[in-house]
Symmetry: C3
């Protein structure tokens, strides 16, 4: 596993939440909370990143996450440039490194990278100069660490201490980086229970998600939970779920008000977006009183501000 | 019709010029005039929009209008982010709203939207939070309000009071949002006469453009006018104009120096751009002494600065 | 040839290095050196371009060069906007001018243009208003003046005075704007010798590159040189090189450690990037101790800062 800290112990990269200590995650969450603001409020701004150059490199499109990082950087005074360079080692390992060295020679301080291929981020992090930080904006099915942090922040805002909570993660767990980062952060914060609910064909193997109870129906899995974390399902997964289409998927695995009633009466409902309404979630639930989906989005910018400021602060100079 | 004002009467959205009062339009034009600057002069800048976040969402490409809004926002200190999100309700009504709610949760204050589908802008405006403004950058064939304002500003700069003027709008009126917004603003400013000149197949029905005289030849329609507003024609309209191609269109409906001679000797010629030279307008006219086409472009930024500042000022906070 | 200076002799456009005086190039290089900074250092920033609007118009994709100009402008406080407008006179001569006039009416001060067609840049420069500067970011096979300047700056940093040096330019000289701008700058700085090394099918005709010795093998051409400037080769050129593919090209014309050994022991190796490793250059050379390829990239931003500041300073107002 890639070392994400500098020699002095400060956080330099954020590629995965695995291996972070609890106090590090707590510090990031507290830092993030300072940047949270309500709808209609003017967002907190600062100058902590003045003179810092951030490059976003997304080999998969994701306007939401890209804009969230861009706003986070800009609100703290950084220059953010969106690059359309191909970064993948699939093209050519050395070409990717040439791109990295070029960006470094252009004096970018932070690379925010989304890549569909496992390992590209760690590969980049191993080769950049000591003053450069690499932040994941989503890596294959493996990790989406800022999403994990924003999910934890959202849960704490609405439900208080994580230790007391039963959390269900529901849907296409097999392919979900959101689920893996959520698992890491909630385990680190010592959630009382983490449950996985998925169709058999979309349930990860036993070598992953240690310690989680596994369910194949929402009816069983949601019983008494405090947090329902829905995942997005891609159309091409329906066959793996042994279901022909979205309507069938919804009938079997969609979060309806009726199924949600199995959860704790004040359970919250989360979704990383974009939602497939009528497939993995019913509109009445997505827009209902238990949904905290919109505060997840706001929290995303706050978390990315905190992460950017943290890695830049440790950089010295 | 959508209510564009806040409870206190201040302008919040600008989706159409229909329903605005004359004093509101006059105030916007006077405000715009402060931001007009000559070629080679350094543009007026300000800080009125510092901390304001503007998102541009264009489902039809339009570099000119997008850049005009972007420059307007930046000159007043706003953060402007160009989004490539699909917004159309054609995809899915609720998906569109999810996008809107996401942008709102990212604390965007102003959405600048261009959309080919009638009604999307009003739909968005009905659902955004009270602190968010929606500005049209062109909606279907219906409205292009900042274009209407910049056209009015240009006419006033060159011809003085609109009340005294005979104005001809020429070309593909049927499909033109530019024509509709021009009609609204010139009627509000009580132009002496507004004439429509179009091939029969491109002339709007009698339920629209109330009070306008209608002509099917430039020779008749341009007689004695003070302002000639040309419209852009798309190639696919030639058949509706009962003409096979651009050369034929030009022969029948193109603005030549000879036809322009029917107008008042100091009449001005306008065009929203991009021009089809040799189709709707002769180059010698487009580049001639009566053309004010380039000052329309400069006025566009000034008008958008004034509109952005007006809707942001009323926002409070 | 286009006049690149204003009436007072100050530099207004930079479309080619041809016709510049030695003292002008020396001044640009000295100016650039002030903006050079080491890896990991915070780049020099300034406010010299505050209020200046720069438009980049690239009809060929080139993220590296575009970002280099964008960073250069931003570091000095300019507003930089990347436009996707079609500028080519291939579409329509007058349409191109309409675009130019529109950008001018939007108060852009500097146009940074890359175009595949010879002559477009000069055509634009002839038509813009007196307050507007046109900078080339690469024109057909003809010129890439900021690349030429950054190459000269890199050579001087590593090898001192150009007068003492033997410089070899290697590869697809026929199609290379990089080679032509390098030739102009090194001849102006009175390099002791400039050699051209290319396959016969990629060697320019005798009417160009006056005074250069010509070689068809690296073995002969690299003998005793101080600087080896490699060029990128496009796949579609292999047939002109009378070679079937990249492996064959490498076998005959690739820069290997063995071939480099013919050069002076402390010769430097340059490449404009992106590199085709294993085609025109071996990885062990590209990443070896004689390679200065990464400092070329850093120098690129410094040179573009100096050029932007120089043309803006002469603008008055």
């Amino acid at each position: 596993m890639i070392e994400q800290r500098r020699g002095d112990g400060s956080l330099r990269h954020l590629i995965t939440l695995e291996g972070l200590r609890r106090d590090e995650v707590e510090a990031l969450l507290q830092h993030s909370q300072r940047y949270v603001c309500l709808a209609g409020q003017r967002p907190v701004r600062g100058t902590a990143l003045r003179g810092i150059q951030i490059a976003t490199l997304f080999t998969e499109p994701s306007t939401r996450t890209r804009v969230s990082f861009e706003l986070a950087g800009r609100r703290l005074g950084a220059d953010v440039i969106n690059l359309e360079l191909q970064l993948s080692s699939r093209v050519k390992g050395e070409s990717m490194l040439d791109t990295i060295y070029t960006l470094q020679a252009l004096h970018f301080d932070v690379f925010v990278i989304r890549d569909a291929e496992p390992g590209v981020l760690a590969h980049v992090a191993q080769h950049v100069g000591p003053h450069v930080s690499v932040l994941s904006a989503g890596e294959a099915h493996l990790a989406h660490p800022t999403q994990g942090l924003l999910d934890a922040l959202t849960v704490r805002q609405h439900k208080g201490r994580v230790e007391a909570l039963r959390i269900a993660i529901v849907g296409d767990l097999l392919h979900s980086r959101v689920a893996r980062s959520a698992y890491h952060v909630f385990r680190l914060l010592e959630a009382r229970e983490i449950r996985l609910i998925a169709p058999p064909g979309l349930m990860p193997g036993p070598d992953e998600f240690a310690g989680c109870a596994r369910f194949t129906t929402l009816e069983e899995g949601l019983e008494g939970v405090d947090v329902v974390m829905m995942l997005r399902i891609q159309k091409e997964r329906f066959s793996a779920a042994a279901l022909p289409d979205g309507a069938e998927y919804f009938a079997r695995y969609g979060l309806t008000a009726q199924r949600l009633a199995r959860a704790h009466a004040d359970a919250i409902v989360m979704h990383p977006q974009p939602m497939n309404r009528g497939v993995e979630i019913a509109s009445e639930v997505a827009d209902g009183p238990q949904s905290v989906i919109r505060s997840q989005v706001s929290n995303g910018v706050a978390v990315r501000m905190a992460v950017l400021e943290t890695v830049a602060a440790g950089r010295g100079a």
